[in-house]
Subunit: 410 residues, 2 copies
C-alpha cells in the first residue's frame, strides 16, 4: 500500500542518451556505465522538447511535492524500480538573527531519509542500479553517503559495502551497519577509500558508487535545483552557498537550471553559485583563485566539517565551470568560523546546523562583510545534514545533578 | 523573506472557548490558562460550523502541506505569532519486510524540526505563549520535548528552563543546551522533574509547559490526525499504533477526528487506536486491562524506550477513553521485542526507527500474531523521533581498520 501517486503511477520517461562531461562523446542509455572513456563523469541527457510538450509546469505543481514529482526529468524508466523512504521536499527556514538578514533561507536537507542530502543522490543511483541489474555495490564515504546507500540498497536487496576513514564518527558507522551494509574503517581519507573501491571494481568484485563515478547520483542531486525553482515560484534566488566536497549537488543544480530554462519553466537568470570549502581542505578555492580548470589534491586535509573533507574531486572542472559561469566564487572558511556559525544559528535562531551547513553560514557572513553579497539579496544556504549526527560541544555549566533545588538559582 | 504563504497570510480564526476535559466547565479563550480548576487538561473548542462555511476542504488541499495549512482549526490568532522551523507534513513509509504486511505504513515523525513529533506540540504551545505574553517557560522532559521547546522558545526570545532525568542521553542534553535553553539533570524520573516545575510555577517563577498542563500542545499534536486524514484521501486507516507516554498525540488525534467529522470532511468511521507502552512502564495497559478510568503511577519504571517512560499521565482518562471508544487496546511490549523490531526494520527495510517507534512495530507484530489485526488492514505506526538520537548497538565484527586489504574477504 502506498498513498503517494508519484510512487505508483507509470509515467513517460525521456532519457535519450548519456554524454561525457569532458568530450561530449555519446553513450547509450539503459546500459550500465561508470566513468567515460577519458575517465570523466557521464551526464544524462533528455529530450526536453518532448518533456515540454508532454508536461505543463502546472501538472508538476499539482503533484505531491516529493522528489519523484520530477519523474520526467529523472532517469528511472520503470515505476517498479523506484525505491523510496519518503524523499520529501525540504523546507526553507529563515535565520534572521544569525545571518544578519531576513533574506537568507536555509534549505534544511537534514529532513531527508537517513538525515542528509546524500539520500537524493543515492535513491536515484540505487534505483538505477536495481533497474540495470546490479547486485553488489561498494562506496567510499565520510559517513552520510554510506548511510544513504545502506538504507536504499537494503531496501531493494542489493548488497552494499562501505569504506570510511578511520576517524569517521561512531554514530555514522553504526547507522551504516544497522541499516544492513558491511562497513569498514580504513586508515586514510575518503580518496584512499575510493582507491580501494576502484581496485575492487576493476577486479569485477562490485560496482563502484563513488561520487560522479556512476551517472545517476547527480540526477538525484539536481532535484535540489528543481525544488528551489518551484519553491521560489519559478524565479531563482540571487545566490546559493553550497558546501562543496565532491560537488555533485552544485553540478547537479547547475544542470537542473539549464534543463528548466530549456523547458521554459524559468528564464535565463541564474543565482551566483558559491562553492564553500573549509580552509583546511580547499582544493577548489585554490584552483578558483589560481584561475585553473582542474584542482590538485589537497595534502593533509583537516577540518571539523568532515563531509567536505574531500582532497580531490573527480568533477573539479565541472564545479569550477559552474561557479565561474554563474559569477560566483569558491570561498574558504576556517573551523573557528564554522563552529561559531553553528553555535550562533542554534542559540539565536533555534536551528541546529551540521558543520558543513555552518560553513555556508560562515561564508555568507564573510561575503556580507566584504560586500560580495548584499543583505537585500535573496540567498539560500544548504544545510546538508541534520546537526544531530555531528559532535556538539559539551553542554555548559548550567548542567547539574540535584535533589534539593534552589529554584531561585535556575 | 518567507516562501510559504501559510506563514505569512492572515487567516480567519475560530476559537470560541476552552473547556475542562473532565467537567466540561467553560473557560475564556485568549487568556493564559494552565489546568482547569479541578486539575485536568483544558481542551480548545472552535466554531466548526463557521469553519465549515468558510473553508472548503479543497482550499486546505491547495495550500502548502505543512502544519500551518490547518490554521482555521488551530488556536493561533495572529500570523505574526507563528514561530516556524519548517513543520513539514511527515511522510508515510511502507515497511513490508519487517512488518510482514504491505499494508503497514510508518509515519516518520523524525523529519520534523529537532527530529521528533514533539515539535508539533511545542511549536503551537510556544506560539500561544508568545501571543499571550509569556516570557519564561519551564518543562520536564525525557529529551525530545525539551529540544523542541528550546528551539522554538529561542527563536522567539522566550527564556526556557528544561529539567530532565539524570540518565537522559548526552545527545539530548547537548541539543537542548545548544539550542539556547538552560538544562538541568535531576536525579529522578520525568514526574519528579515535573514536580519541581510545578513548584516553581506555583511560586510564579515561570509558566509550566508540562504535557497537557497548558492547552495548546494537544492542538499541535492533533495535526497528526489531520494529516493522516488528508494523506489517506479523507478515509482513515483501520488501526493506529501509537507509542504512549503522556498520550497527548493519541488524545489529539482522537479530537482531530471528531472535528473533521463535524466539518463533514470525514465520515463516522474511526481507526482502532492502540496505545503502545513498554512492559517496564505500562500504567495505561494495566488500567485498560483492569477496566479502570484512571491509571495509577507505575513504580520502578524502566525501559530502553525512554520517550514512553512516563509513570503517571495527567491525561490518563482521556487516553483510556479514546482507546476504548475506538475499539482498540492498550498493549505492552518488552524491551527485547522493541530492540528486535528496531533492528529488523533497519536491516530489512532500511528504515531506522527510534525505540518508541520500534515498540509500535513490535506491538503490531504481536497483534498480527494473535489476530487482533488482520494483514489486509491498513495500519499506521508512529515513529515519533529520528532513530539517530537513540543508542544503537555497536557495529559488529565487520568493522575493521586496515591498510592492506584482502578484497576477496569483504
Amino acid at each position: 500500500m502506498t498513498i503517494n501517486a508519484n510512487l505508483t503511477a507509470e509515467r513517460a520517461t525521456f532519457v535519450t542518451h548519456l554524454e561525457c562531461s569532458m568530450t561530449g562523446e555519446r553513450y547509450d542509455a539503459d546500459q550500465l556505465h561508470g566513468l567515460s572513456r577519458v575517465g570523466r563523469p557521464l551526464l544524462v541527457r533528455y529530450d526536453l522538447d518532448a518533456v515540454k510538450a508532454a508536461i505543463p509546469k502546472a501538472m508538476i505543481a499539482a503533484r505531491p511535492t516529493d522528489l519523484w514529482r520530477w519523474r520526467e526529468v529523472l532517469p528511472v524508466r520503470h515505476t517498479r524500480d523506484i525505491v523510496s523512504l519518503g524523499e520529501i521536499e525540504t523546507p526553507l527556514i529563515a535565520i534572521p538573527r544569525s545571518a544578519g538578514s531576513p533574506n537568507v533561507l536555509v534549505k534544511d536537507e537534514g529532513r531527508l531519509p537517513t538525515g542528509s542530502f546524500k539520500a537524493r543522490g543515492l535513491v536515484m543511483a540505487v534505483a538505477m542500479a536495481k533497474e540495470l541489474g546490479v547486485t553488489r555495490i561498494a562506496m567510499p564515504t565520510n559517513g552520510n553517503a554510506g548511510a544513504a546507500l545502506a538504507a536504499y540498497a537494503t531496501r531493494c536487496g542489493i548488497e552494499a559495502i562501505v569504506l570510511c576513514p578511520d576517524d569517521t564518527p561512531e554514530i555514522n558507522v553504526r547507522e551504516i551497519a544497522q541499516q544492513g551494509a558491511r562497513v569498514y574503517r580504513v586508515n586514510g581519507l575518503i580518496d584512499d577509500c575510493g582507491a580501494i573501491v576502484a581496485r575492487g571494481a576493476a577486479e569485477g568484485r562490485w560496482f563502484d558508487f563513488s561520487t560522479l563515478k556512476e551517472p545517476y547520483r547527480i540526477e538525484g542531486k539536481k532535484t535540489m535545483g528543481l525544488e528551489l525553482a518551484a519553491q521560489f515560484g519559478w524565479k531563482l534566488p540571487n545566490a546559493i552557498f553550497y558546501p562543496t566536497g565532491g560537488g555533485t549537488g552544485l553540478i547537479g543544480m547547475w544542470k537542473a537550471f539549464d534543463e528548466l530554462e530549456q523547458l521554459g519553466w524559468i528564464g535565463p537568470e541564474r543565482p551566483r553559485m558559491y562553492a564553500v570549502q573549509a580552509s583546511g581542505c580547499a582544493p577548489i578555492v585554490r584552483a578558483f583563485e589560481a584561475g585553473e580548470e582542474h584542482a590538485e589534491r589537497w595534502e593533509d586535509a583537516a577540518t571539523v566539517a568532515a563531509g567536505i573533507r574531500v582532497p580531490k574531486a573527480v568533477g573539479d572542472f565541472l564545479i569550477l565551470r559552474a561557479v565561474r559561469e554563474s559569477g560566483g566564487k569558491a570561498l574558504g572558511v576556517g573551523d573557528p568560523a564554522i563552529l561559531k556559525a553553528v553555535d550562533d544559528c542554534a542559540r539565536k535562531d533555534g536551528l541546529l546546523l551540521c558543520p558543513e551547513g555552518g560553513a555556508t553560514l560562515a561564508a555568507y557572513r564573510e561575503a556580507l562583510r566584504t560586500g560580495e553579497v548584499d543583505e537585500d539579496e535573496r540567498v539560500v544556504l544548504f544545510n546538508c545534514a541534520t546537526g544531530l549526527k555531528h559532535p556538539m560541544p559539551p553542554a555548559d555549566a548550567a548542567l547539574d545533578r540535584f535533589a534539593e533545588i534552589d529554584l531561585g538559582a535556575l
